[in-house]
Symmetry: C2
Subunit: 127 residues, 2 copies
């Protein structure tokens, strides 16, 4: 359940990409660097789904709406490079920092539940 082939080496080459010029967040403001990282597909979904349990690659994939393995793997590398996710014997897991971030993100769940019906209403009105 562990490959160890190149993935651990790639993570180093990927690191500079996180929060650097890649997706244009050299603004210097930490929040923008974070938004750059979290504002990629499935980033937050991954953190969310790792919050209550460690997950295998395929489990995670299933929970992220069958995200393609290429993106999922890239996201996981990025999140590991950022120190938010790490590998555990039983799959991927949140690091300490990852858990701390999740705690900050968590209230979004409640907010989303209040917001959802309003959104549906809006959508209904525009038919």
């Amino acid at each position: 359940m562990s490959s160890k082939k190149s993935s651990d080496a790639d993570i180093a080459t990927l690191l500079p990409k996180v929060g650097k010029a890649v997706r244009g967040s050299q603004s210097g403001q930490p929040i923008m660097v974070l938004f750059d990282l979290l504002g990629r597909r499935w980033s937050m979904g991954i953190l969310w789904n790792l919050s209550d349990a460690n997950r295998t690659f395929r489990d995670l994939q299933a929970r992220c709406n069958s995200a393609s393995p290429t993106v999922l793997n890239t996201r996981l590398k990025e999140l590991r490079a950022a120190g938010l996710v790490e590998k555990a014997p039983d799959g991927y897991a949140l690091s300490n920092d990852g858990r701390a971030l999740f705690r900050v993100l968590e209230p979004l769940g409640d907010w989303a539940m209040e917001w959802a019906p309003k959104l549906s209403e809006r959508q209904a009105r525009s038919d």
Copy 2:
């Protein structure tokens, strides 16, 4: 400073796209719908930059690292369709819901500031 050409009509046709099958978040869970919306480029950056003042299109563009006008405009339409952003006489503004969401998002700023140095350290180590 206001065009009113097609943009207000397009917003209706864009609405169904928000949180629907588009970027694959038909999971039904509100949080995943929200993540789908926020997990697009500049979405959170826009909300963040509108939090302390209304901004013009070009001002917003400058603050979002010169995001291309096409994306910026798309994001703004999506956020308006989602009821988080609206147009004010002096530019774009957060709606009530948008402000509520920002309050939930706000702690990320502090967290990011604690996290930033750790990230730099990581990046330094992998050189």
